[in-house]
Symmetry: C2
Subunit: 676 residues, 2 copies
Amino acid sequence: MTDGIPRPEIGNGELDQLCANAIRALAIDGVQQANSGHPGLPLGMADAAYVLWTRFLKHNPEDPHWPDRDRFVLSAGHGSMLLYALLHLTGYDLSLDDLRRFRQWESKTPGHPESFMTPGVETTTGPLGQGLATSVGMALAERWLATQFNRPGFNIVDHHTYVLCSDGDLMEGISHEAASLAGHLALDKLICLYDANQISLDGPLDLSFSEDVARRFEAYGWQVLRANGHSMTEVAHALAEASDEPERPSLIIARTTIGYGSPNKAGSAKAHGEPLGVDEVRLTKERLGWPTEPAFFVPGEVYEHMQLAVEVGNTRQREWEMMLERYKAGHPELAALWEQMQSKALPADWAATLPPFVADPKAKGTRVASGEVLNALVKVVPSIFGGSADLAGSNNTLIKGAATITGEDFGGRNLYFGVREHAMGAALSGMALHGGLIPYGGTFLVFSDYMRPAIRLAALTRLQVVYVFTHDSIGLGEDGPTHQPVEHVMALRLIPNLHVFRPGDANEVAMAWRSALERRDGPTAIVLSRQNVPTLDRSNGLAPAEGALRGGYVLRDAEGARVALLATGSELSLAVAAADLLADRGVPARVVSLPCWEVFEAQDQAYREGVLPPALTARVAVEAGRSLGWERYVGQGGAVVGVDRFGFSAPYQEIYRHLGLTPEGVAEAALRVLGV
Amino acid sequence: MTDGIPRPEIGNGELDQLCANAIRALAIDGVQQANSGHPGLPLGMADAAYVLWTRFLKHNPEDPHWPDRDRFVLSAGHGSMLLYALLHLTGYDLSLDDLRRFRQWESKTPGHPESFMTPGVETTTGPLGQGLATSVGMALAERWLATQFNRPGFNIVDHHTYVLCSDGDLMEGISHEAASLAGHLALDKLICLYDANQISLDGPLDLSFSEDVARRFEAYGWQVLRANGHSMTEVAHALAEASDEPERPSLIIARTTIGYGSPNKAGSAKAHGEPLGVDEVRLTKERLGWPTEPAFFVPGEVYEHMQLAVEVGNTRQREWEMMLERYKAGHPELAALWEQMQSKALPADWAATLPPFVADPKAKGTRVASGEVLNALVKVVPSIFGGSADLAGSNNTLIKGAATITGEDFGGRNLYFGVREHAMGAALSGMALHGGLIPYGGTFLVFSDYMRPAIRLAALTRLQVVYVFTHDSIGLGEDGPTHQPVEHVMALRLIPNLHVFRPGDANEVAMAWRSALERRDGPTAIVLSRQNVPTLDRSNGLAPAEGALRGGYVLRDAEGARVALLATGSELSLAVAAADLLADRGVPARVVSLPCWEVFEAQDQAYREGVLPPALTARVAVEAGRSLGWERYVGQGGAVVGVDRFGFSAPYQEIYRHLGLTPEGVAEAALRVLGV
């Protein structure tokens, strides 16, 4: 299997093989030109991917956003040149010059696929396992929307999600979570093409991997099929069988030779992650019967054949659009809802439904307020959809009165992700990428670490996703340090383009949700307390919670304020109490609420300096987490009342007291800063 | 199965059942007294755990550190009262009063097990899946040490690793990685007792989970056994069979009733995560035939029977110690090596083997230097053992000339973890906990996110582990933003008790390794560049690299320095070049290298202020990562030349230039700060 000569006996037609080899040649030329990249996967999977793209994939290269297109996810994102070659050859807006600029500054062909850089790239991949789990979210969204919108004769939502994955993808833990969830939910329109090439970066796969992948996926409830990945006939049969399967997701184990066609590197790790080299590129082309010059050569008949995708795609999309027109006539309300959800527009006056919370010194955990806000919102914003990673009750993410999503019935609104934080994170991204949904997912804040790679990709890919992270500090008490996220709020703030909201009371919670729903170009983490915090009485000199929409605001001012007390979340009321103590000592203090740093820092300088005047240099921050990072606001002369160690297992009031997170502690810090 | 009446037909003897019920009663009393905790697991697993602890587990309650003891890991850490009850009843230093103080301030019985708080607790658990993967590391360490040290007639290292896990553990992705790795490595002495109770926090397990766990583990190459978890006979048979298995790890699927014995809550999620309530505690005790008063009652015959563990344990340990004495006589060199590795002591003069690197303006990636240091160190520090997550070549973690660890042969030194960063992280912790090893593991820095929960637990548990994180910034170039860790260095600095070393040249790399090996009470992450950086010429006015051992030092001073340039890693030489430019402009600048903040901050104030004098307020930091956090050192008046966005796919020199990470950019920032 290590030579690359196309053999008629595996059933590939001459033109088909020419097309597959065009993909191969473009891929190795791209990698060679960049002098960087991964030739092995495109060489190995060209045949199978060609079959999928030309005989199965429903898509329109002239409209990469057609809602009912099939999705194709290259989970093994390092094989990006395979995808770029396919996009170019089937007629997407990606030129040969774009391919020549593979991995160059601001090119449309970055080293790993980025959906915001390249038309036709469905999601950003590279970190292994993410694409597979993201595709589960896409398939999940398809099925949920299909259940909501399809009517007899009107399959408005009816497409497959294809994912190409590698050995590395399947080694990652997230692949387990995602595949197990997909099997549980019976996502029959999810089809995974597994490039089983038996090679990993370090060498032969059996250095580290010996599992029976077929048996494993059968255990998850998948259909498992096998094919010689270099036989187009076998791959086509398997894809057809997968498409026909009515109940289970399908895994097609395509046995391939990595670097297929390269005389000296095929079948070895040498073909994996570095350019073949000029000589080996030449030898490979010779072996494939390909002109060695010029680079980036594509025969006219290849274009002619593969760009049929444009005509076919346009025809299919037109047919679908005509169906949609008839649907609008027959089901006008559903059609209107469909269009609204697709557009991501929020209904008029939606924000008026945000519940106002009345002042209450005893009050509730901000997580409880979040649950009330969420339940109010879903009534007017039907695209909100999500669940929790087995903590629905604790995260307050359940939609009351709504049914549970099951493999048999997708008519509900409550999704149980299971104890699968990482797959949940990536699936939320897939749901957002699919369109039609504003997804949310809940877990404890400490477990945001389990899904951090997925959060990062969502932020990079600019996806509207809402994370509901409860039990946000030492305030969860007895569960102890393993469950107390002292560093997580600041660690999340470090992820570019992620908004981290830590609301200080119930009314700020409503504003956090509002901000998250209004934001289209990135994810928002809403960070919530387990323990009760007062709903502040804002009738009495405290500013309205709408200030939170600017990320930070003066909650309470004081004539001639000598010190500013900055706080977030459950420590906001503590700062207010500290200001009272300071007032008693004759020290007027301003209290600044900073629930979302990223939004605050996006305000103009005048606003920011209005909230934190440069002249007001005496500043104390209080937050039940690491102090590192707060120096940005309090300066070197300021103080931070934080938690610079792991927490404790004990009733939370005791932990707060021992760590000095008390009104007295904050007031003392302020006096120290003032040198009083 | 939902009533709790012990039935003779399942083969439990009367005394045995009394002991199991004593565990149950202590557990529910502990949870009730704390008014917080998880009664369901201890009630469900009391029978099986009792059998394991009294008939199989090799341990000595009077010496929890006996090196050849069996390890027991409660992966489902929320069931901590089960473990505390077992420790108390078998005679560990854990009193009834300790049990009464469950989940209270500074008690020895925190909400989740913490190995540094409680004698007999092998590791810190709670975040699901971690315990299972940690136990894989323990079993791996056992096998490696056995291969090194056992000789005919002398099984110095010969013990099992038992792990009790729950449905939630097996849903987590890390369980897939860990179990797949254990199967691949044929860790036959790893035995997992799976509490299959069909209930998760949100309700019946089938809300989210429907996989065939047996089939899945068979796919990993495990032996799978089944038992009624309430039949001591069946559990004992399964444990015996697991112990006899010579090649595969074993999974015992123990079907249990969560909350067994509780008349109104058994078999439901209500028994899972909250106290039963006073009434239900009473009803449960009645159902179990237990005195309802007093709480924390233990019959004398239970103590008598279960504390046999002390006598048996002492006898077995004595026998082992006698064997060790004979071993010392017969194999003195091996025995000396064994003792040295057990003691964690480093050989005399070990640090002299650290290679000095000569100045070289072209030089090498700091990852290359790290590989050379590592290869030098293993020759004198035999306890260093580890590998990489399928990036051995890129991480430079291979031990040259050493063999590969395989399931058949553990005689090598190179471990291939596969693309399993998370399991690798936890396994490293298990190896450190086992003793005899200083484990290291490598991956790209960006994938530290995949293993972050394991890093956090290692830091909390104070384990000596070395993480080798290469490709540490935009400097990796073409692979693009998915692989460029702009936020990860600072995010790691946020984890308490983790040392994050980002050495600036080859000689600082040697110091980073030295610091990591000398540190016994916590992990160290060594953060390394892909791209070449100069090895600084320190003969010429630059301070020696030993300064790095204090975390930060003045690399180059200047008479009347007006500005301090702070840098780490690959940006250190850039700061030096900027200082040259500033000197040309007549602005003397001090260059401060800050490779490890945590170590620097542990220095006394005089030292710190010597490096960064409070009067030298004009400061510029340069690091190819997020600026947030650097305000700690540069103050509000200073500047940070950093990367406050995701990166780009392009040759790295271009990325540096576009982002202003150049000597000119740093010099300009300094001039701006100075108002020049």
